[in-house]
Symmetry: C2
Subunit: 418 residues, 2 copies
């Protein structure tokens, strides 16, 4: 079959499966999730064997050891995928909840019922565990999912697909609820992005290049974020110890992720007190400092920051530091260089905490807490499928509820429109 | 200036205005809405004069009398635009509401705060009153709006823009919060659809052709519906009088709109009792009937329906009628031919009312009520800017709340991520 024919079949099958999923209750979905977990554990040997094929090809292609590390499946990672499915199983089912119901003057009772989105196209790179995470979240929220992983993980993804599909069929669910595209042809992605007749949303996860490609070529709405250029603003009224701990955590705890701090903004009145100790702590942890001219006055041996440092997502132990004359300057800087992702203020001042929370245009805005909390699990949504900074549909981390929408339901007694 | 330069300036100005709007409270927005209403009434003469230019060009171009009717502004329509603005003024401000707040085990307090989307691109045809409606709704929800109306209404739209802008400036608001594109060049639309750097969503309103053009060419998410192919399913357990009234209302009260019924589905057990009286009532109102073969058995002189009648949005006094063997057949028909817009069942049966509400995939699903209730005002949302069947962001009629999104706000006491 042509790749076009194959993709159309996959999309139509997903659409059909989504119709059945729409009316599947929690019990059956949870049984399928449990069976998926069991099957992964039972098929451990086969999974590791197929994964070895990917690893050996990766070695031949000279992939970096970090890449190979992310690609590797072993007993521990398989157990952790199964645990992840069981965590999703334990989360409440968002589907069918009626959020609010009101009565109209003519007696009509109107409410909003939560329903699945339909068919989700999920496009991602590298880590095969994402295949299982995404499948679990989509199934629980009643959506069919079409999964397009990286070509370097194709053997792993296909054996995982087998384990998941087996679980669906064993529990009376449509096998096409979860489909890994059995091809490494990039044309499959192009075709998927044009299938707005059958696919309701696209979620890409990976590097900025992949995400830009998807956003620029999709005819289907895309929930995405390009990058996280996150700031911590240390206000003149910051408690010093709190500021040290939050800034250090935001930069150093896991520098390679999108909610890590990239630029530190410091009020000039606190800079001389705050910066020397802070910068020493950063440098002890191996962080390179790139400072604005005023920062260089306080930390003369810092590297001067250049214009490109302000919008940069370093994803590394590098930090840009800017001293601002007041909070308005900090807000202007965030407006200009921020990525609407995560922004934090450290302050003891009531009015400025309110102003920052209200005015900053980011998916998560924090007072006296680390940027690292922009995460579905940390904010209490349960597992997350990604973070959306496009504002549409769901702004911020997306959990099960964000994979649904609501329709209006109306109970009448024969009402007609006058 | 080139059209590209002009559009970029408009988009950047809108973005800047949206930043100021974000922090503008209800009182100031309501004052601006009131001023807008006053200015329209005060500028009545100028508005009617500019409108006459459009009308005279329309006559030269040989536009239909229906089109000219929709284009015409007089004392009554200007008063009604002013009334519309005052209705929006009276609606609650959605911005700043915190919908839910919870505490995490580490003490973080997490909530969702309602915020404006940012910049809305609104593309529409004909009626100049839409310019004022859209401007009012966008302003109240804290969004800047870029308006691109039909070329046949350009003089009317520009004078309305002048009245609105004057009100913004008189009340200390950014004048660029509302901008009518001062050009009839279609290239302006193409440029607008590519400005994803500054524009957050696009809402098109008009014929299916316009909407398909926008959807296919936009790099910005589009909230839209192509058409409304709405069904009423008369169940075997329908109360006959209720069914007559609802079906008649759904088809005849205003046949040219998207929430009018296009196909009537009738359970075969009730067809012989129900259809003759129903069809007589339809025919007395001038409705042409196109029936399936079984319908022709009951109504021998009906026109036979052809395949193209089932997915058709007639927007006219034409009705397709199909007799189904059971509700599953009705559900299958709706799944295949429906447009996810509005679907209704007439029944006295409890189980089937629940099944219909749960399983039908449409933005509004009604039991024992007319499809004509799919409307923001009728459902209690206040005014509406349009209906979205794309499922993303807001499924169904979109009022003020649907022109906003939520960001997470987090109150901490120095929490860091372990």
């Amino acid at each position: 079959m042509s790749i076009k024919g194959m993709m159309e079949e996959i999309a139509k099958d997903a659409k059909n499966a989504s119709r059945q999923l729409r009316k599947t209750g929690r019990r059956q979905k949870d049984e399928a999730l449990e069976r998926m977990a069991c099957n992964l554990l039972q098929m451990e040997k086969d999974i590791i064997e197929e994964n070895k094929k990917d690893l050996s090809l990766a070695a031949d292609r000279g992939l970096s050891s970090a890449m190979i590390d992310r690609l590797t499946l072993d007993r521990k990672t398989i157990q952790s995928m199964a645990d992840g499915l069981r965590e999703v199983k334990a989360l409440p089912d968002p589907v069918g909840a009626v959020t609010g119901m009101w009565k109209r003057p003519n007696g009509l009772q109107v409410g909003r019922m939560r329903i699945p989105l339909g068919v989700i196209g999920f496009i991602y790179e590298s880590r095969p565990n994402v295949t299982v995470d995404a499948a679990g979240l989509c199934l629980k929220s009643g959506n069919a999912v079409i999964l397009k992983g990286g070509s370097e993980a194709i053997h792993s993804n296909l054996i995982l697909d087998k384990a998941l599909k087996k679980a669906l069929l064993e529990t009376g669910m449509p096998g096409q609820a979860v489909q890994v595209i059995p091809s490494t042809d990039r044309e499959a992605v192009n075709l998927l992005l044009g299938m707005d007749e059958w696919v309701d949303i696209i979620i890409p996860r990976g590097g900025e290049g992949l995400i830009r490609f998807v956003a620029e070529n999709s005819r289907i709405p895309v929930l995405k974020h390009y990058k996280g250029v996150c700031h911590v603003y240390v206000d003149e009224a910051a408690e010093l110890q709190t500021a040290y701990d939050i800034c250090f955590n935001a930069k150093v705890q896991r520098p390679g992720v999108c909610n890590a701090m990239e630029t530190l903004l410091v009020h000039e009145k606190i800079a001389v007190n705050f910066l020397p100790t802070m910068i020493k702590r950063f440098r002890d942890a191996g962080v390179e400092i790139r400072g604005c001219p005023k920062t260089l006055d306080v930390i003369p041996d810092a590297k001067p920051a250049v214009e490109q440092d302000w919008p940069a997502e370093f994803l590394d132990l590098i930090l840009a530091v800017k001293i601002v004359a007041n909070m308005d300057q900090a807000l202007d800087h965030i407006e200009k260089y921020g990525s609407n992702h995560t922004e934090a203020i450290v302050t003891k001042d009531y009015a400025r905490s309110r102003q920052f929370l209200t005015e900053v245009d980011a998916s998560v805005v924090l007072v006296n807490a680390s940027t690292r909390f922009n995460d579905g699990g940390q904010l209490g949504l349960g597992a997350e499928i990604g973070i959306n900074t496009s504002k549409l549909h769901a702004f911020g981390p997306m959990g099960l509820e964000e994979l649904t929408t609501t329709k209006f339901i109306v109970y009448g007694d024969g009402q007609i429109r006058e």
